[in-house]
């Protein structure tokens, strides 16, 4: 009885911990092992070294996916942060209807990527969407067919992704701005600094941790982006807007290339870890310092 009482907290956590160990870490280990085998339709546990990784990096399709990920990630991060910073600073100027405006900026975060993709697919429809509207109001030669143009369709994913996530980045920056001590800004004003230089020289540099968080969140979102691609372009036309997450599921469930799919999943996992581990480390150290 005493033993039970003493160990009850551990007993309560144990099932969840076991579940996490098995379903997260065990599964990742399994995927890693399978990536080192010849597995095709079914897992085959015969060791095959790093052949799947060599195959992966020799595949033009994987290169397209990785290039698209680069294009998407860079534009997605730059645009979301640019919009987020501007909107948060502007909203922080004692705007009367701030609450309503914030609600409008953030509602896309409540939608699924499938809904967002469906809506933008219709807006960007090459014959019925924006193009038709522009033609009707007098720009007869206006063309907008990125959705069906190889090499351009990846940018439609950027457009929809930025629309969905930039409001959230605004909210993170606004919270950061609100946590800065007003005294600092007042003192700078007394010293005669202009509003512009207060922001560029004092406020934004103080927001470095917020920039870090925003970049980590957006990087993480972009490496995992799957739903939006499927709903908007399905990786097309052809494979021109493929991304690693789409590549992985296509190989695993469409092409019966279990080994290759596992190798691509491990590449994604390693990339995410390379970003998250240092981030978590610095965050936890900060937490310790505060204590």
């Amino acid at each position: 009885m005493d033993w039970l009482k003493k160990n009850l907290p551990k007993i309560v956590v144990a099932p969840s911990f076991a579940v996490i160990l098995w379903f997260v870490y065990g599964f990742i280990a399994w995927t890693f092992y399978v990536s080192l085998t010849k597995s095709k339709l079914l897992p085959n546990y015969e060791f095959w070294g790093i052949h799947q990784y060599v195959r992966l990096w020799q595949m033009p399709r994987w290169h397209i996916a990785v290039e698209n990920l680069f294009i998407f990630t860079i534009l997605f991060i730059v645009l979301c942060i640019f919009i987020g910073v501007i909107l948060s600073i502007f909203l922080d100027q004692k705007i009367r209807s701030e609450g309503v405006i914030k609600t409008i900026y953030l509602y896309p975060m409540a939608l699924s990527f499938i809904v967002t993709g469906t809506a933008w697919k219709w807006i960007l429809n090459p014959t019925m969407g924006i193009e038709k509207f522009m033609n009707q109001i007098g720009f007869e030669n206006f063309q907008f067919d990125w959705l069906v143009t190889p090499g351009m369709s990846i940018y439609t994913i950027v457009i929809a992704g930025v629309w969905q996530s930039s409001g959230f980045i605004m909210a993170i920056f606004l919270a950061g701005l609100r946590s800065i001590d007003d005294e600092v800004i007042k003192a700078a004003k007394v010293d005669g600094a202009s509003t512009f230089s207060i922001y560029t020289k004092i406020v934004l540099p103080m927001m470095r941790p917020v920039f870090m968080s925003a970049i980590v969140i957006l990087l993480h979102l972009s490496i995992k982006s799957y739903d939006l691609v499927i709903a908007l372009t399905a990786g097309g036309p052809g494979i021109s807007s493929d991304m690693p997450a789409v590549f992985m599921t296509k190989m695993a469930f469409g092409r019966s290339e279990v080994g290759l799919a596992s190798a691509s999943a491990i590449m994604m996992f390693v990339t995410v870890s390379a970003i998250i581990v240092p981030y978590l480390y610095s965050e936890l150290r900060r937490e310790q310092d505060v204590k």
Partner: protein, 285 residues
Amino acid sequence: MLNKKKLLRYFLFLVLGVFIFYYITPLYVMIVTSLKDMNEIREGNLFSLPNSINFESWKIAWSGRGEGTSDTFLKPYFFNSLKITIPALTLSTILGALNGYALTKWKFKGANLIFLLFLFGTFIPFQAILLPMARTLGFLGISNSPLGLILVHTVYGLGFTTLFFRNYYVSISDEIIKAAKVDGAGFFKIFFTILLPVSLPILVVTIIFQFTQIWNDFLFGVTFSFGENAPLQVALNNMVLTSASVKYYNVDMAAAIMAALPTLIIYVLAGNYFIKGLTAGSVKG
């Protein structure tokens, strides 16, 4: 001369206004498109208002045209999603609350390491677990069933729910707990009488976050279920991608709005809790 300050103020409102327009336009387009008939869509443009308010497409999106098997409509999938979302969010929230409590108020050796493993688990790209999960569900005999998706969402929601409660309980004073322990109160008594009564805010945050995550999930749904067992987002995507010769954009838009309505309503009613969950769930701070 207009003074500079006033001019700046106008510029500020202009920019804020342009972005209101940017965020609201897709919703506006979805709504007006869903209310038009196909002739109006062909003749008009994205932004033109419907001639009359016509909910025909909404009816079709929800319960079909009654034309036999090729007809996809949302109603059954809406209930599939509810059947998955409610148990998974309940289970993961209860477990998360107990874990968060045990890890902060009954610190045992290794508690921090355990938390770190939970935390890192929330970041992994799910592609790294899809294949073994598919095999496990098959092995357990629950692939392509609501039960399978409940399991998946509970397991991969645990990290988030534990994180939420852990960070909330850390800020609650240990003194009261210590006093209660001295008085001989046990693990569950302290939880139910001291912690739970002050947990309402974090409960709301967690429930909203989990509801949104599970409701909006596509990857797990499309990987671990098909046909009539699919959740709502998968059905919506299938509906839009249909290869039928005539595309009903109005029905697509009505379906998309319906799929978004539950989370949108929660967002409008409880925006602050919604944002708190998002921030805590992604910054993990």
